[in-house]
């Protein structure tokens, strides 16, 4: 009778098997959820049962898996990682059919190793011999199979002399060896492993690793749950990262491990933790008319303001903090997100303003999340997830688009890059000026000795500062390297365009409008025509804080068309000696103008500039020493007549690039 029951089960499983139509699919998990009901008081005795009969049995529902879907291909070494309690072991147990999901379906093709741990069913009162047979049968081997493999098993476990000893007299190492030796004999197409390598000495672990490699070579499908990121990276082809029962990431091991590490340093609810003392207070949301409201129109701005309290956080960390604001729809899709640097080492609290321009989205309820994280390590210091609700109305006629934006910095389209050294006088004006056409700025500070760094830090458009503290002579190579560093730093924000500028340059033309228009779609690089401004006899007062644009009256006619703007392509690269311009493939045009004040801020600055070049660029040293004391010009450095700005453009003589 009961044998029929088995064949019935068998049929049911055959049906499941047919569901996996894809030939290469080994495991298919679709929309699986699992809830544990944890009763507040377990009613296991008659007394408590009777006493509590009329009380409702209270329990906490714990979602250990929530709508999880993924596939594992045949022959894949698939890792599952996550923090404790993230649901990874539960997932493995569901794959092994030990737990049944509450909803969703798991389809498995191929023979599954049914065990998650070594030595299942081992009985300490039995001899090693009997335990091999017992454990082997539990793992699905027949008695005959064990008979033929018995010697091999005992040999692999290095336990030849102890076959008839009772297991309870074995050391834990011996037991694990025996267990592993049996386990490797179990034949399966899909092997599930749950942290088996936690035990055993070094040699034995190496043996296990060898066995892993063998499994991999033989094209077995392996599902591996581990806390050891080294093993995960070494063995896995693909990794699933679970967080609180949900899929956090699925993909390359390297990225998964990185994300796991980030998750791992998220603050647990520990009040003593110094980082948790960073907080955002006095949060307010206003519209562009400066009215406090919770209702907005598409096209309007949400202006968030608040104070950041750094608490007892490390002063060094404060300068790296990034404040992020994200707007989510009701289905938790991130619509738009942006972030700003929170730089203020001087005060304990800092007021911030933050503007989100509402894109064309559907009318509905939206929520805002605010977080503060370390821009270097991604460590999260403060998070208020969906704390504020807004009603956003779309009364425009344009169709609503739901941007599937899923990343911070989504609306950074142009990133400005600059290298600065002791630019205290002009840097504020420079960044203000450039901010008009770039979204964010990344600065490389080259060992400034004045307060340039403070000014850079305090500017909200600056999202990253690379700080070079050591000054090296012979700048030619250094300059190229610095620019490449800036470029690489900028790439992680994934902008459309890069714009490289120097602190002493002012730009003329609607650069932003052009870059974001259709006209520039096929353009890969833009050269900007740069003219030197000169101190002249009637125009020699030094620059004081103010606007540098159109500061001098006369400009040289020599025109340098310098490649300052380029599209964010992976092929773009700075190389060579003193390479101001990167190598850019594709169509390059010349557009816009630039006034260059390098030599004309003041007479003193002219002298300093001469010294600077003479000292740091040996190859130009004589040329610059000759220029000392000649700050006031009647003619250009190339001995040509000086012109007012407009005429300089009209009479321009191109000297760069030389053809």
């Amino acid at each position: 009778m009961f044998f029929n029951i088995f064949s019935y089960k068998q049929k049911k499983e055959d049906i499941v098997k047919k569901d996996v139509n894809n030939k290469n699919l080994s495991i298919s998990v679709s929309h699986v959820s699992k809830i544990f009901k944890i009763p507040h008081e377990q009613r296991k005795t008659l007394k408590s049962f009777i006493f509590n009969l009329f009380k409702r049995n209270k329990y906490t529902e714990l979602k250990v898996a929530e709508d999880i879907s993924f596939n594992i291909n045949e022959g894949e070494f698939f890792g599952i990682i996550g923090r404790n309690g993230s649901g990874k072991s539960t997932m493995l147990k569901m794959l092994a059919k030990i737990y049944q999901p509450n909803s969703g379906k798991i389809s498995i093709k191929g023979r599954l190793s049914p065990f998650l741990e070594l030595g299942v069913g081992f009985n300490p009162e039995l001899s090693a011999h009997d335990n091999v047979y017992l454990n082997g049968t539990i793992l699905g081997l027949t008695r005959k199979e064990i008979d033929t493999k018995f010697n091999e098993i005992i040999e692999f476990a290095e336990l030849e002399e102890f076959v008839d000893h009772k297991l309870k007299n074995f050391s834990s190492g011996m037991q694990v060896r025996l267990a592993f030796s049996v386990a490797v004999q179990a034949h399966a197409d899909i092997v599930l492993i749950d942290e088996v390598l936690a035990v055993g000495d070094y040699n034995f672990q190496q043996k296990c690793f060898d066995k892993f490699r063998e499994l991999k070579q033989n094209g077995k499908t392996v599902v591996f749950v581990s806390h050891s990121m080294g093993n995960i990276e070494e063995f896995c082809d693909r990794v699933l990262l679970l967080d609180k029962g949900k899929i956090s990431f699925i993909g390359s091991p390297k990225e998964a491990v990185h994300k796991y590490n980030i998750l791992n340093i998220l603050p647990e609810k520990n009040k003593n933790d110094k980082k948790s003392t960073v907080s955002v207070n006095n949060l307010e949301f206003k519209n562009s008319k400066n009215e406090k409201t919770q209702e907005f129109l598409v096209g309007d701005d949400i202006i968030a303001s608040g104070k950041v309290d750094y608490g007892e956080s490390d002063v060094n960390i404060r300068s790296r903090l990034l404040l992020g604001v994200g707007l989510y729809d009701e289905k938790n899709n991130l619509i738009i997100a942006d972030s700003i640097r929170m730089i203020d080492e001087l005060f304990d609290t800092k007021k911030f303003y933050f503007k989100i321009s509402i894109p064309s989205i559907k009318t509905g309820i939206y929520q805002i999340s605010i977080s503060i994280r370390d821009l270097k390590s991604d460590e999260v210091y403060f998070e208020k997830f969906k704390s504020h609700k807004f009603y956003i109305q779309n009364i425009t006629k344009t169709p609503a688009i739901i941007s599937s934006g899923s990343f911070w910095h989504d609306n950074i389209e142009i990133i400005g890059l600059t290298r600065v050294r002791n630019e205290s006088l002009i840097i504020q004006d420079t960044i203000d000026h450039v901010s008009k056409f770039v979204d964010k700025i990344i600065v490389l500070n080259d060992a400034s000795t004045d307060d340039t760094l403070d000014k850079v830090y305090s500017h909200p458009k600056v999202i990253e500062v690379i700080n070079n503290k050591i000054w090296k002579k012979d700048r030619a190579v250094e300059e190229t390297e610095s620019r490449q560093l800036l470029l690489e730093a900028g790439r992680k924000y994934n902008p459309k365009w890069f714009f490289y500028f120097d602190a002493d340059e002012r730009f003329i033309g609607d650069i932003k409008k052009y870059l974001l228009s259709k006209e520039s779609l096929d353009i890969n690089g833009i050269r900007i025509s740069l003219f030197d401004a000169y101190i002249t006899t009637n125009d020699k007062s030094p620059y004081r804080n103010g606007k540098l644009l159109n500061f001098r009256q006369y400009f040289g006619p020599e025109r340098r068309d310098i490649l300052m703007i380029w599209r964010n392509n992976p092929s773009v690269k700075f190389s060579g000696i003193d390479a101001r311009e990167p190598f850019v493939d594709g169509k390059i045009i010349t557009k816009f103008f630039s006034q260059h004040y390098g030599k004309s801020i003041s007479i003193k600055q002219w002298e300093d500039t001469c010294d600077y070049y003479a000292n740091n660029f040996p190859m130009y040293s004589t040329k610059w020493l000759n220029r000392k004391g000649k700050a006031v010009h009647l003619k250009s450095d190339f001995n040509r007549t000086l012109y007012p700005w407009e005429s300089a453009i009209d009479n321009s003589i191109k000297i760069h690039p030389k053809k």
């Binding site: 998650l116 049968t137 699905g140 034949h187």
Partner: protein, 267 residues
């Protein structure tokens, strides 16, 4: 590699049942010098006590031919019932470790635990035969029909055991309740006394019990007509208890199937 295409994890469940029940059997008499003989010794001692009390004090044996065998068969059979059901009841909870870590149809645990009791029972039955021969009982090959009744009883035990084991996971008081119920059942079943001593209106219902029916029918096969009354004597359908066995098994299986999904979480 064999059986590559099989989906299931542990295709040879029969091997697993054998291995688990033999291990149980082995562990049960581990470190005891007389080993298995204790499992015969226990019902034998119980039988001796009952025999002395009921033949010399109550003079029950006089009306029944081969009363010692009559009594021994009843005691041994009931012993099988009691041991198997209580083993089945605990089969899931006692193997929690296995359930949390390996997948196989959970019914295997109930089957293998009752198999251990069945093994003991079969050995004990040989002893009963030896005593029967000594006692001068004449039997022929028809005695092999006893195997059919053993199978019926085993199916009944399995049905009850499946229900007990799954309920026991959530409700541990069942252990004590079952012990008390079994004591009552021992006296409610015509084991010591002949059914002829019971008023018919009660005896009628007693004989609906598959346990009573199996014991009575086995006695008739072994000792012969006149040994006891059977279900036939009270009901027109002698197979009525067999239907009860079948229904019990189906209900037990349904309960078990429904609850076994969460065994791994509950044990």
């Amino acid at each position: 590699m064999k059986n590559n295409n099989k989906f299931n994890t542990n295709h040879n469940y029969w091997e697993l049942i054998k291995e688990l029940s033999f291990t149980d059997f082995k562990l049960k008499y581990e470190r005891s010098i007389l080993g298995y003989f204790w499992s015969l010794g226990k019902p034998l001692a119980y039988f001796m006590v009952l025999y002395v009390v009921f033949t010399s004090v109550f003079k029950l044996g006089d009306s029944i031919p081969h009363y010692p065998i009559y009594l021994l068969l009843g005691v041994v059979t009931f012993g099988f019932w009691a041991e198997a059901t209580s083993a089945a009841m605990q089969s899931i909870t006692s193997k929690g470790d296995l359930i949390r870590k390996v997948y196989f149809p959970r019914i295997i645990l109930v089957i293998s635990s009752t198999f251990t009791a069945l093994l003991t029972f079969v050995l004990n039955m040989f002893a009963v035969f030896v005593f029967a021969i000594i006692n001068g009982v004449n039997f022929n090959f028809g005695v092999l029909f006893i195997l059919l009744y053993i199978f019926e009883l085993y199916l009944f035990i399995l049905g009850v055991g499946l229900a007990l084991s799954s309920i026991f996971v959530k409700f541990r008081d069942l252990g004590h309740i079952w012990e008390v119920l079994n004591q009552i059942l021992f006296y409610a079943t015509p084991i010591i006394y002949p059914l002829s001593l019971v008023p018919i209106k009660y005896a009628k219902f007693q004989m609906l019990s598959p346990l009573a029916q199996v014991i009575s029918d086995m006695r008739i096969i072994l000792i012969g007509e006149g040994a006891t009354l059977t279900t036939n004597d009270f009901w027109c359908f002698s197979w009525l208890p067999m239907i009860i066995v079948l229904i019990t098994f189906i209900i037990g299986y349904i309960i078990f199937n429904k609850m076994s999904n969460s065994f791994a979480e509950d044990v």
